[in-house]
Amino acid sequence: MPEPTDTSTMASSLLDAWLKSTTDFWSGTVPPFPAAGSGKDQEAARDTATASSGDQPSQDENGRNKNGPAGNSRDSKTSGMADGLSFWNTDWSSGAQAWQSIFSGPKLPDSPIPGFPETGSFQETLAKMTGPVFSAVNTMIGEWMQQSGTAGGGTGKFNFDSLDKDALAIWKTIYDNAFRKFLKAPQLGLMREHQERVARFFDRFTLLETALAEFLGVLSIPFKQSFDDFQKKLTELAATGKAPTEPNDYYKIWLRILEGHYMTLFQSPGYIQTLAKTLAASAAYTRAKKELISDVLGQWSIPSSNAMDALYQELHVLKKRMKQIEKQLTSNGDDR
């Protein structure tokens, strides 16, 4: 077993690395705004900036910068803006350095209180503040991953000898036990309503796919049975010497058997239940899809189907009332 890493130490070193790379990165953005004018300060600023980035601004054969409008540094028309940029350069450079020194500043004095942990440097403090949050998130993700890893744990009770029948049941169990709860997990914060709609859409879509697969599976049963019965029928015909000589007759025998099996299936309670479930899943998916689409349309101020429905209903009622009034006006309903 590897030694557990101290969260605060790890976070502290990560924070150091992040601060350094961030400061270097932002310092690196200074060169595209080279020093303007002829003053010493500007020259110094440009030196500082280029030194920190290790780059030279790109210039053309006339010595003009190619990287942007500020490249025309000698142009009198743009000198005002260039002055502003040089000031920004200087300011940025010193600012970046200041941040670096703050973050790598001396440690604060040790805690005078026995047993109370020493405060340490700023990054240690920050690491301690953020550490528990990172840790909690880490733990939660770990748990989720672990549960996802055991997603197939429910398959043991199924018999893989009849995989075609069991495959769907296995998938349903896996989805219900392992995945669905994540889609049903409560969403938090400003976007929770939208997130819930998206989650509901994916959930209903998966349930519809599952229901359709089950429905199609049921529809395929007569095919399998018809082949078995066809085999038996042929054996019977062969035994009695009545086997047809026309190839097409064999097709007709099989078709009649198939038709018979479908008629039996379609009146069975199992089929009717599966049909009802599939229709319900289809309706649930359609509702979830409409909700999601309405949500998206709402962002662009496009009327949703709910809004249009309300309008259609109003029109419907108005037309009906108008017709009634019309009929009343035409000689007590005798409108001939």
């Binding site: 529809l219 007569p222 042929l234 015909l237 062969a238 035994a239 010497g241 086997a243 000589t245 026309e246 190839p247 097709y251 078709l255 198939l258 038709e259 479908y262 379609f266 009146q267 009717i272 239940q273 049909l275 009802a276 229709l279 319900a280 289809s282 309706a283 649930a284 359609t286 509702r287 409409k290 189907s305 249009m308 429905d309 259609y312 209903q313 029109l315 419907h316 009906k320 017709k323 409108d335 001939r336």
Partner: protein, 374 residues
């Protein structure tokens, strides 16, 4: 016959023959399928005489007017599922044309394609709204107190409701493959619909998509409708006339408008699940539909092999209505065959026309051009 009991040699030699035949068939089929095909449907000329929203009233004028013709105009009310073009599918097998050839004035409601804004339309809106308005237009055009109504399938159910609520406007009622008694387990649709949560579907979808309904109809007999039908097509794909007729039927079958949600909801709950109509308990537009109000003559035609609306769902109607002049006719065919099979073409329209003639008064007149002027 070999030791397995199968005439293997014979089967193999026939298969070889078939293979040679199939090669030539495929070549010819390819030429037919890529060549010009006449597969248009609904070719009989008509005129739109009234329109309300998306719903149109088509008028088919007879070319000849024999002296003994049925002068009272006939309104055909089709179902909200699929389209009325089925009655005019192909030359030589057109119910519409057969009526016209006998000198009848034929009107037909074209329900169009319901859109999102139609989802709140109820059975009341269809029966007391559109149908009643169309009936009034026809009455005005012909200066007639009453007209003849022929309903088809769900359109027949709506015709029954209309006739019960407006008996004074209906001279004769003809119901064809019309479900009125829904509490039966003879048809799969009747079995399945009891398990359907109509509220759930309508709340989710609004209108019920036509493709959704069509898939349900295909499932009623997948072996025949999704497999054997296309095997049959491949076997006859080298016959141009067969291909054209097959394509016409395909065009009609998969031309499926959506069903307005609220109408679907009420039809499933009140009819398929509650079986309220035949018990005189159904309410439409705040009024109870009492079948005893149907005092006009009723001709009830249905198919013996109808898997969608079995005879058990149709035959009770004539016993429940108030009329004493009723007749049931069970034809040896299925739900669609009743209108399109060449065999029933010889029975279906002639029977209706004969029945109507026997009840024809000499009061109706030819249509006037402006229906708004009495």
């Amino acid at each position: 016959m070999d030791k397995t009991g199968f005439p293997v040699d014979l089967i193999l030699s026939k298969l070889a023959e078939n293979t040679i035949g199939a090669q030539s068939r495929v070549r010819q089929a390819s030429e037919i399928m890529t060549g010009p095909l006449e597969a248009e449907i609904a070719q009989t000329p008509y005129e739109i005489v009234h329109q309300e929203d998306r719903v149109k009233l088509k008028y088919y004028a007879p070319e000849k007017q024999p002296a003994d013709r049925v002068k009272t105009p006939l309104l055909i009310i089709y179902a909200l599922i699929n389209r009325e073009t089925m009655l005019d599918l192909q030359p030589g097998r057109s119910v519409t044309k057969s009526f016209l050839d006998r000198g009848m004035d034929v009107y037909m409601i074209d329900w169009g394609y319901p859109a999102e804004q139609d989802k709140f339309l109820t059975i009341d809106d269809h029966v007391n709204g559109y149908i009643d308005d169309m009936v009034n237009v026809i009455r005005r055009r012909h200066q007639a107190e009453q007209i003849n109504i022929m309903g088809i399938c769900m359109g027949g159910t709506m015709s029954v409701i209309y006739a019960a609520l407006h008996p004074d406007k209906v001279k004769n009622l003809i119901t064809t493959v019309t479900p009125s008694h829904f509490d039966t387990d003879k048809g799969l649709l009747h079995v399945w619909m009891k398990a359907v949560n109509a509220d759930d579907l309508v709340d989710a979808y609004g209108n019920i998509p036509g493709d959704f309904m069509n898939f349900g109809f295909l499932l009623l007999n997948p072996a025949r409708l999704m497999l054997d039908k296309y095997v049959g097509f491949m076997e006859h794909a080298d016959n141009k006339e067969f291909v054209e007729n097959f394509l016409r039927m395909e065009k009609w079958i998969f031309d499926s408008p959506d069903v307005p949600g609220e109408t679907f909801r009420q039809f499933i709950k009140d009819c398929y699940q509650g079986n309220l109509l035949i018990q005189n308990k159904m309410e439409v537009g705040g009024k109870r539909v009492d079948l005893k109000n149907i005092t006009m003559p009723v001709l009830n035609i249905y198919g013996k092999f109808d898997h969608l609306v079995p005879p058990e769902a149709c035959e009770k109607l004539t016993r429940q209505v108030g009329s004493e002049d009723t007749e049931d006719v069970c034809l040896e065919t299925g739900h669609i065959g009743i209108y399109v099979s060449s065999k029933t073409q010889k029975e279906f329209v002639p029977k209706i026309v004969k029945w109507l003639k026997e009840r024809e008064p000499d009061t109706a007149s030819a249509p006037t051009k402006n229906p708004d002027q009495p």
